[in-house]
Symmetry: C2
Subunit: 580 residues, 2 copies
């Protein structure tokens, strides 16, 4: 601190000066030539416009490029990157991200309280500044079969850990709006600690939104519609404009940002992005590009990812090129086509031309070794067979429309009966789907037909299944289903695609059945290979791996399969398999 | 909370609906017709544009007028209003102010730690939301004779009281920039508690400003120049644009706000306003009018006093018409000529057409009864006489230019000697000035000539003398000086003007010698009467009472008189009375 101040007044030289920079001033929206003086991990001085010649021990010539604060993602589940925190950091820092607010609710659904502990431990000393959200909705809905349910006591304990900056997305907005006791008690835990409360509410009416906000919710990443976004901005909610792998909402939200005068209560977020998207397309830098393409002024797009994010998070030490702030700085080639050239983290050059130039230790945690495939027993054929009588039987099924994973409908399906079993796979456009509880060895297995997934042959299994992350498997062929599910039961989890008994592709995610310890390039290659196989098997979706992960999420409309069977999600009622 | 949420979703009616309103949406900058639903002290719902017909137990017809959040003053010394907190609240609420950040450093200079305790106690239950600053600079400069000096321990204790929202203005910016031990330790106390740090730095160079901010300072109300303001805005400092009684800076700052794209890091503040100005011209409403007159867009002027202030203060419950926020709401007749028509505080109609319509209890505190005129003894003629030999003597004097209280220069003055005494009063344009220590009965008295105050006859005394608030008296006539000083020594403090032994006007401020328990109209009448007398005696200043209060502030350039004698403030060195 003292050395920072001494350098600021010119009593001692700076450690490092960024020279020949076009400074993007996120406070005023101006862009002007200047220099930046750094001491230790802090910004000590940002020059006046056109000032040159800062006295410094070393210099970095920005070559006239744009210099701005490190980028902030205000809402991300690192687990969707399928990487450990260290590998996530190695992946996103070259894209300019220096701070994320990570909600480890996937880890927590599998590991319980250890999920938060793991994320906190594995996020230490990885250069990336990781703020954590204490998950509010574990499970996402009461009664789901995840590892354990977090009540107010558990959430309170998580909020007390030093890295916990916020209460994570309050997804149970039905509970939030209708004042369900558990949800109200959890909100109270956050309020009494003065914590920020992040939300999750899809296209609410103005009245629903008001009730939800009156409960204390301050932000939301779920806007998909222009009107929805403008309603939220007017209400003072912080609009977290999302560019995920599946949910790419920025083009729809840009007109709302314009109508709201490019307000301070809007940030950028990624929520869920897969490893290959992170590697190839980028992270918040890609969100900025999407915003600019959608007509958002480039400097405002940068302000969303820096100043606005820091204001939302109540952090004064990040999000601005400000004396005393942490020297997290991005050098970008252009503002219109936002390409990150160099990244400084805490005053140290961390990445150049998309490559990390500094070592980030991998870190290890005993939790990474834990096998979370806790099935009652290995799966067998009988688990996936539906006994029936007569010539045909009418079964309830969930059906996907246009490859949209976020909305299913009920599609009762007439299925022929052969040898006392419903032969679901024989029906065109239908597969048998099963969900096997894998956390507490209850032996629960839900089975039902599913329609319009696209699969023509073989079977696919996975353990990334929002939010309970049980083992799901679906196929045209019961033997292949057994093979795919068994593969994952033995490997510790991930994804497997099987045809005629042979595993054609596998993504191994042994850490909680959610993430790999492999570096992003290897992992992205596995994901790419899986995508090719899934398309070969008939799943013609633009993000086929991500597509699979939403099949069991009982907070999405209208029908989902869980380990307990089909759920009508709009009413939260179980549905019989046999339609009447 | 639950009832707020229930009303929001429409399950029960609102307690109150504001109908027929033009809603000024400070989140988006839009203005549109709508309604507001209130439950208890909270905003439960802000309607969609053009939505009408909210179901409520009672209604308030806004008659198409503008509705916006209650106004916030981010930096004010209530003591300059010369009123108790309750009377201050009664005065400013009808002008639309519902929250202030008050820095009680005047009280603390006189009352020590009890100054903060008094302000906290007397600010409870007065409808106005009073956030307190723990004063960082008591005294304003080491070595001053105030009641007691606050070191890091005292400031730490004050920061721990619940009402303490921030560390008050770090006026010792020399200490702040040069890393004086005491100042650094005080800053550390604030930083370790995560408190906001308010600043006070006059036209710094970019380098000085950077050092000051690196120490943790986040805001400043002292900008008087356009360039100075733009430099501060670019640096990310929160620019508190001031409209005080003497310091009226908004016209000069408006071009900087424009150049900075009307940024989020700018608020409105009053710092020091006298009772008659508060009563007749107003408070933050007047600052908004000044801003609009200076070319600031009206909605942005409102945003400065609401959204921006709340963001700076880290308060989510004020500064916006937001579900769940406190129902502090202003109804204004116009945005261009901002006149407050009605004010709701916590959902209750508190003022209409400039008049309070609700009772605010006066409150009492034993501290209000405390006599703080702790002189060693009553003043006598000899105290104000300067012994000298020869026919004339050259005395150092401070001199005012153009009635500006904020800048004095050294003006050595040749004075005739009569009967062994320097006859200062006989010199045209010169008065004898004395400062008597009044806190700890040390008997310290400083005496020196002063130039260009304007006084032609009689004498004037006061106990409001930033920041140590010792008893000052100046006059053409030593007998009148004794009479004026004696008047205040007996009354408990305030201001007195004497001619030929007769007290022509007096403002009685018995609480700490700084404020009165009288209501604003009586007090403003006393101040008006005093101004007339001061002008009759020759003090031709646009704010003559306020003018007097700066004579002793040893942090202002270049020469000031204290109880220990003349100080060269630029070097902080004592000056001899006799010039060589």
């Amino acid at each position: 601190m003292n050395r920072v101040m001494s350098a600021a007044v010119g009593a001692v030289p700076f450690d490092l000066a960024l020279i020949n920079a076009s400074i993007v001033n996120v406070n005023t929206g101006e862009v002007y030539p200047g220099e930046i003086g750094i001491v230790g991990d802090r910004i000590a001085y940002v020059s006046e416009p056109n000032e040159t010649g800062l006295d410094a021990a070393s210099r970095y010539d920005c070559g006239g490029r744009f210099v701005l604060p490190g980028l902030i993602d205000t809402h991300v589940h690192m687990e969707s990157g399928m990487m450990t925190p260290a590998n996530f950091a190695r992946t996103v820092i070259p894209h300019g991200t220096t701070t994320i607010l990570a909600d480890p609710h996937e880890f927590c659904n599998v590991l319980g309280l250890d999920g938060m502990a793991y994320c906190a431990e594995a996020s230490r000393d990885i250069l990336l500044r990781v703020l954590l959200a204490a998950p509010s909705c574990v499970p996402s809905m009461p009664g789901e079969s995840n590892k354990m349910a977090f009540g107010p006591d558990e959430v309170g304990r998580l909020l007390d850990i030093p890295a916990a900056a916020v209460l994570g997305e309050v997804m149970d907005y039905v509970g939030g709006v209708r004042q369900d006791d558990r949800m109200m008690a959890i909100l109270a835990e956050a309020r009494k600690r003065g914590k920020i409360i992040q939300g999750h509410i899809i296209n609410p009416t103005a009245r629903e939104l008001a009730a939800y906000m009156a409960g204390g919710v301050e932000s939301d990443p779920e806007s998909r519609l222009t009107d929805e976004a403008l309603r939220k901005l007017r209400s003072g909610l912080v609009l977290e404009c999302r560019n995920g792998s599946s949910a790419r909402n920025i083009a729809a939200l840009a007109p709302a940002l314009k109508a709201a005068g490019y307000p301070v209560n809007a940030t950028l977020a990624t929520d869920d992005r897969e490893p290959d998207d992170l590697l190839h397309d980028g992270h918040i830098d890609e969100a900025i590009r999407q915003a600019v393409r959608a007509g958002v002024p480039p400097v405002y797009a940068v302000q969303m990812a820096t100043r606005n994010a820091a204001l939302f998070l109540g952090r004064k030490d990040i999000g601005g090129l400000k004396p005393g702030a942490v020297a997290d700085i991005v050098v970008a080639d252009s503002l219109d086509d936002f390409r990150v050239g160099a990244v400084f983290v805490g005053g140290v050059l961390a990445a150049e031309r998309g490559e990390l130039v500094i070592d980030i230790p991998a870190g290890t945690s005993p939790i990474e070794q834990r096998n979370t495939m806790n099935l009652a027993r290995l799966p067998v054929r009988d688990d996936f067979l539906v006994k029936a009588t007569g010539e045909t039987v009418l079964l309830n099924a969930m059906s996907f429309l246009n490859g949209d994973p976020f909305h299913t409908t009920l599609a009762p399906t007439r299925v022929p009966v052969r040898d006392g079993m419903a032969d679901i796979g024989s029906v065109d456009g239908r597969v048998t789907m099963a969900v096997l509880e894998r956390h507490n060895a209850t032996g629960n297995i839900g089975v039902a037909p599913a329609a319009n997934i696209g699969l023509q042959r073989g079977a696919v299994a996975g353990t990334v299944a929002h939010d309970s992350h049980n083992l799901f498997v679906f196929g045209k062929n019961v033997d292949d289903m057994v093979a795919a599910a068994t593969c994952l039961a033995r490997s510790g989890g991930g994804f497997a695609a099987v045809l005629d008994g042979e595993v054609l592709a596998e993504i191994r995610l042994p850490v909680a059945g959610l993430v790999s310890t492999k570096p992003v390039r290897e992992l992205a290659a596995e994901v790419d290979a899986m995508k090719i196989v899934l398309r070969e098997l008939g799943i013609d979706n633009h993000a086929p791996v991500n597509f699979l992960t939403w099949f069991c999420l009982a907070v999405l409309p209208e029908v989902r399969l869980t380990d307990k069977g089909l759920v009508e999600t709009t009413t939260q009622r179980m549905m019989p398999l046999f339609a009447s």
